[in-house]
Assembly symmetry: D2
Homo-oligomer: 99 residues x 4
């Protein structure tokens, strides 16, 4: 499955890139496939692996803030693989077919 | 912590209440505190309990659809209890103090 | 249509009920039907009316914070009315039919 | 400001790339800066321009489906520009500074 993870630690000022960098290192160490987007991090893998990683990332944010808002958007499609690349590619192919 | 869970099984037509009712029964059986909202279900509990329930609900949706979109919005605040009631009550108290 | 609005002003500490109360007053003054949920505010109305209200609420948050994260989840179903009540009621009826 | 737009038309089967391609053409014609992500489309611009585009995209989905779920996640930071690129770049710089 594919998720997009977005973590907002409150009470940490208005610039979050230092906190988000520490969290991104945890994603990177996990070995799961991921990509950064302008508003989150997409991660692909099996439910238990991905959600264990989400928990570690959220806990890192909670070590930094007493109050954390985390959003996980999940797309789970039977038999789909490489959705990190294929979701964008399939839309681009469909656009090409229209034009 | 408090979450809001929203599950959209694709390819199931435009009326989802039957699918959502089956999922809601799983929430109800869990024993965790919850409430329905117009666009989701809020559930309160410890991370592992809540996320195990989210997985069971998502899997029920996947038995019904090959392609499921699930959103989990998490609010986790140190020491907070009864956020299902207290989040609304604290805003209403603050409104009362303004007026 | 029905939306759920969730506004997070950053850099305002970890307790947001005062800011959220000021925003809720704007919702209340709008005359649109709404209800508070533990993680947001659901509002029902026509697109232009609802989105004009979302803009006013977001702008109030921006007056209070230089950096605001706002999420709008929209459900738009042809011919549906009173979704603030009917969404919950239809799931509860479906649960009743199962049991 | 920066948004991420995600549109789910219900009752359209489990493969949405054709519908999403038609919507993407509307984004492309708008002239606003955007990028595709695996789970949505990020768009940058002023509130009124971006939200007018969101409305046109949502209406296209509603022409194709009687029931549409649309999510708009908004990040609005005073004085920020080129957040489509800068959000990712600032996290990557912070990761580099840690290592």
């Amino acid at each position: 499955m594919l998720i997009e993870l977005s973590i907002n630690p409150l009470g940490r000022g208005t610039h979050l890139s230092q906190d988000l960098a520490e969290i991104l290192k945890i994603v990177d160490w996990s070995g799961l496939k991921y990509c950064l987007t302008p508003l989150g991090t997409c991660i692909e893998g099996e439910w238990d692996d991905v959600m264990a990683l989400v928990k570690r990332c959220h806990e890192e944010a909670r070590r930094r803030s007493m109050h954390v808002m985390t959003t996980v958007r999940i797309e789970d499609e039977a038999g789909a693989t490489d959705k990190l690349n294929e979701n964008i590619a399939s839309v681009e192919r469909a656009v090409g077919a229209i034009n």
